[in-house]
Assembly symmetry: C2
Homo-oligomer: 353 residues x 2
DNA sequence: ATCATTTTGAGGTACGTCCCTCAAAAATTG
DNA sequence: CAATTTTTGAGGGACGTACCTCAAAATGAT
């Protein structure tokens, strides 16, 4: 049987009230007594019964997700995943809110969050570019006692508690290896399409990709990035322009959103051989592309896992509990036509509504 | 605020005791009343507060994991993962036990489980070959009201509640595509090393592998499986024999345990070119192989996820709750040197103790 | 209508924690 | 040493559910 607060009281030779004061950091306890209680906690190996605690305190955690307002399939599926998790048992006694703000207007993010700060926020998960405004926002939130995690794109220069997302440099390297090995020995050019070089995830992916290409596939010439700004039409145009001005493209790495624009551009510009295409994120479109052969590999992160992990970490941080590194590690998922799960199809169509 | 049992009582116009009897399936309630209560539950959207319920009933779930007693690194890491999960918050009010039994002796499994059945088991996760004995065991457990999940290897011909593991045919196909594309255009032979063709996962992987090879890589000749029976020395011997009798092997698919035996055989039989090696499961050895280039790709399943998922599913089934398909889906993880996470190294070395 | 039986209600205690009050004890101050 | 302040103890109610008892009410059978 697990020790309870009563056991601690007995062990420490104090009353229940005192144990409670120590456990919940209430004032009016001598240092000596605090130490005695902590000692009892340690020797008995006491762990607070979180279920009972939450039951008693009727606490509602207020968590806010801040997402870009871009209408990309990936962000949509992330939103759907968050909504689903918010309905599930993980969000027990949590109020999960979602704010959206334009990625390119740094001031808008602060404004969007401001609306939710009229009441105290327990935690905040932020997916945003690494700008001074966002940095200040995170610093401010932390100073108020709000737990903060960065989502998808890290904010390493800030005091955020945790980063929920993949190692983007490793993802870029992985994409590079697959692309390079799939192309084989034949020399040629490789086009790289990103969302925006202002986005840290894009920069890191590109960095990892370039490193591996230089190191292992020197016979492939990597072209400068073209930026699609998460816009399908624009991405299609610039991809077409890129393919037109650079004959001999044998592969395309789509490091950001806009894969639809890229595949459509490929269809229109009749290349002699279909280029190898490696893209990011599992969406209805990239899934279809894998199935019909328009895309060779997709580097993905599980949005369900992202949403659950962000929630779990925010909760753990608010309660000052340890997190399970293994469980919160977001894996770089390599998807080929052959390992697409049937479930993902169901989830993606459900998210599309 | 979420509705409570009191709200249901009021809504249905009955007493708390009656609601309680309906909720917990106790006898002595008229059908008409049961329907009225259920109706109230439905209209109010009542969901039982699991935390409060477990607190009140002081219930200890008894769960048993049945694993093979083979000393492979994969099974060891799975054991470590189970032990870790058993210590974590997911195993709150759970008693998690692990029994081991020789895979090749079907009677031993029943005997191993018998020891734990002196008290009632709430749930059982079984990793075993698909034999009549195991089938009978599962049927028996289910008839007693024990929740059963199959682990790693499915038991589709039994009334198990759920399968916790990857789609092994898809895994075989994935291995095949990677191997085929990594080899490139050059023709040659492909050796396949399995644990045992009695194991369903091996058979399924081999099936998926063969399908994709026939379909997309007809220039590669796939050799018959050699069986290593999870024994490193034996695996090394038969692999060497295979390589000796079949010149022109350009790739090896290690569908089962014993990757160490295979890589050692490769080193000893000096082949003209290093063959492409695709193996299964992330272990200290396959990880090292990826890093030093002896292995090209590893198809893995996250043992932490397996352990957590099995536990969550067993709990959900005992409580007759729904499971989150997205969360319980075990992904086929493709690992290359480039997307190995630093965390996995820590975990693997920790598991090695 | 009477009896036996089934169904229902009322009430209680418990789980482990939080949070509150009030008084008693101990420590500190002048 | 007394007065003051700080620290501690004792106790209780609450959260939502489980599970128990006993009596009352409703129902069914005769």
């Amino acid at each position: 049987m697990r020790p309870t607060v009563n056991d601690i009281a007995r062990e420490a030779g104090v009353s229940l009230a005192t144990v409670d004061r120590v456990l919940n950091g209430r004032p009016g306890v001598r240092d000596k007594t605090i130490r005695a209680v902590n000692e009892a906690i340690r020797t008995l190996g006491y762990v607070r019964n979180v279920a009972a605690a939450n039951l008693a305190r009727q606490r509602i955690y207020r968590f806010l997700f801040v997402l870009p307002d871009t209408q990309t399939q990936f962000v949509d599926s992330l939103k759907a995943a968050i909504a689903e998790v918010a309905r599930g048992p993980l969000a027990e006694s949590c109020q999960v809110m979602v704010a959206t703000a334009p990625l390119r207007d740094p001031h808008a993010i602060g404004a969007a969050v401001q609306q939710y700060r009229t009441e105290f926020l327990d935690g905040c998960a932020i997916m945003a570019h690494e700008t001074p405004d966002v940095r200040d926002l995170i610093i401010h939130l932390k100073s108020e006692g709000t737990a903060v995690v960065s989502l998808i794109m890290d904010q390493p220069q800030t005091p955020r508690d945790h980063f929920v997302g993949i190692d983007n440099e490793a993802a870029g390297r992985t994409a590079g290896v697959l692309l390079g090995r799939f192309v084989g020995q034949k020399p040629g050019k490789v086009a790289v399409v990103v969302s925006s070089m202002l986005a840290r995830d894009m920069v890191e992916r590109r960095l990892g990709f370039d490193r591996i290409m230089a190191e292992r596939f020197a016979h492939l010439q990597v072209l400068p990035s073209v930026e699609g700004h998460d816009d399908r039409v624009l991405t299609e145009q610039i991809t077409m322009a890129c393919l037109a001005s650079h004959p001999g493209v044998v592969a395309i790495y789509v490091a950001g959103a806009g894969t639809r624009g890229v595949t459509e551009a490929i269809e229109k510009v009749a290349l002699p051989n279909r280029p190898v295409v490696v893209a990011h994120e599992l969406t209805a479109h990239t899934r279809a592309g894998l199935v019909d052969g328009a895309i060779d590999a997709v580097i993905a992160q599980d949005v369900g896992h992202l949403a659950r992990s962000a929630l779990r970490v925010l909760r753990a941080k608010t309660d000052r509990l340890a997190i399970d590194a293994g469980q919160e590690q977001i894996n770089i998922t390599v998807l080929l036509r052959e390992n697409l799960s049937p479930i993902s199809a169901r989830i993606l169509t459900a998210a599309a509504e």
